[in-house]
Symmetry: C2
Subunit: 274 residues, 2 copies
């Protein structure tokens, strides 16, 4: 069986930057999970003493805090500034952008609509920059339960697929006089999705590696499933099963933006071993 | 056979307004066709002496000119002001709006993209208000032949379907950082389209009455065809054929925004006569 890695996959610019910031700031405390990959978080803890705190109350004066790649809510950031002595902002610049757009559009009187998962930290963060008229929708049909105003600004969670974003935009346009659509889907997400799509079309089995709470990894898995019925999402090589590869000719491998190279290599070796 | 008229069809606000202006200004000259209905134009000529001139050179000092419902190009309007003594602007306010948007968006540095038929007078008029970066596309695939800039403003010809507009918007969003989408489809068009769609779903045969050069009438015909294979576009009752109605239970009738009531009544009587 041949194993082929997607042309674009794994660590994105924002994740690389966050990990570099964490490595350069040992013994600091991340609010929440720095990235959605528990094994990489363990490595940063083991090798650099970087810990995670699930809320701000765990911080005390003098601590050095890191803001996670997904960003945090506006109020939390303001509060953090009053607690920590030193704050390292590892918010991905692709996430800072929709935060700023949400704030500016609210100021200009547009109703901010965010296409994304309302329970995801990135979306919660972006939403906190908009005014009280803002809403989060997971798909176009959810627009029906929101009171839509005459002028809207539409933003996407950075890791969503452009096709699904287009569907939400098309539905919103019909309900407004003006909709300002900001394409805030990040390039790495787009590239990884296109590379996964291409590979899934030719593969007999697809392995997508990444955190199961990682939005972009889940998107990759969902795209892979559209073209290759035998597509599996795993966090690491231990989850692989021999029967997945029986009588398969080509195994495609892709990985989310928060999956480090060493996990991809480990999993690829495990596949080879079958 | 039962005959049922669409809940919303025929003359829209802009057409009614234009005809009132023409009737109140006898012996004036319209640049082009006031509305896309040759029989109504004949009536205005016969009863009110309102003539059409196919270009500005036919006008002389002292003439009273009427600007058609679809508007005219910016340069032509400026030239008209230097020739005619009296100008009656019958441009539909729903068309003036996209003209103003095209001008404002060009001023703000957005590339204006117009979804519509580039040969239609309304679209030519709107395009003339935008800068040289503007483009007209008939569908989403035509975006591929345009150099799209980072920030775009999308406008629709007033008579297009909202679903098709959404498709163009979705494709454009993928090519830009920001797209300001202005829903310039007029309410009457939307209402007529929805009423035609509803009627076509239950009808065995559909008759759509209106000018064959009328964009909104062609749209109604195309919507009717989606739900009722036996859908016909006619300009008046003379075009009806007996065989269309053989063994039909329900005949739906709809009419474009430039079709006067008297033509709808005439055609309905002709259908009844079969």
């Amino acid at each position: 069986m041949l194993i082929k890695l997607a042309k674009s996959c794994g660590f994105c610019f924002g994740v690389k930057r966050a990990i570099r910031l964490a490595e350069n700031n040992p013994d600091s405390i991340v609010i929440g999970e720095l990235i959605h990959n528990s094994r990489e978080i363990d490595r940063l803890n083991r090798n650099f003493g970087v810990r995670s705190a699930d809320n701000l109350d765990k911080l005390k004066k003098g601590d050095r805090a890191i803001i996670r790649t997904h960003g945090i809510e506006k109020d939390a950031k303001a509060k953090l500034l009053t607690i920590a002595d030193d704050i390292i902002d590892a918010t991905c610049p692709y996430v800072t952008k929709p935060q700023k757009i949400a704030e500016a559009m609210s100021d200009e009187g547009y109703q901010t609509i965010i296409f994304g998962d309302g329970s995801h930290p990135e979306v919660k963060g972006v939403l906190s920059y908009a005014d009280e008229n803002a809403a989060v929708v997971a798909d176009a049909s959810e627009l029906d339960r929101v009171t839509i105003r005459d002028r809207a600004a539409l933003i996407s969670q950075t890791t969503k697929s452009i096709a699904a974003f287009g569907e939400v935009a098309a539905a919103l346009i019909a309900k407004t006089s003006e909709t300002r659509v900001f394409n805030t889907i990040c390039n790495a997400t787009y590239d990884n999705q296109e590379a996964t799509r291409k590979l899934a079309k030719e593969a007999d089995v697809m392995i997508v590696i990444g955190g199961k709470n990682s939005s972009n990894t889940k998107q990759l898995h969902s795209i892979a499933l559209q073209y290759c019925a035998d597509s599996y999402l795993i966090e690491d090589g231990d989850e692989l099963r021999r029967e997945w590869f029986a009588n398969k000719r080509l195994c495609g491998v892709s990985a989310g933006a928060s999956t480090p190279d060493w996990i991809i290599e480990e999993a690829t070796k495990a596949i080879e071993a079958f």
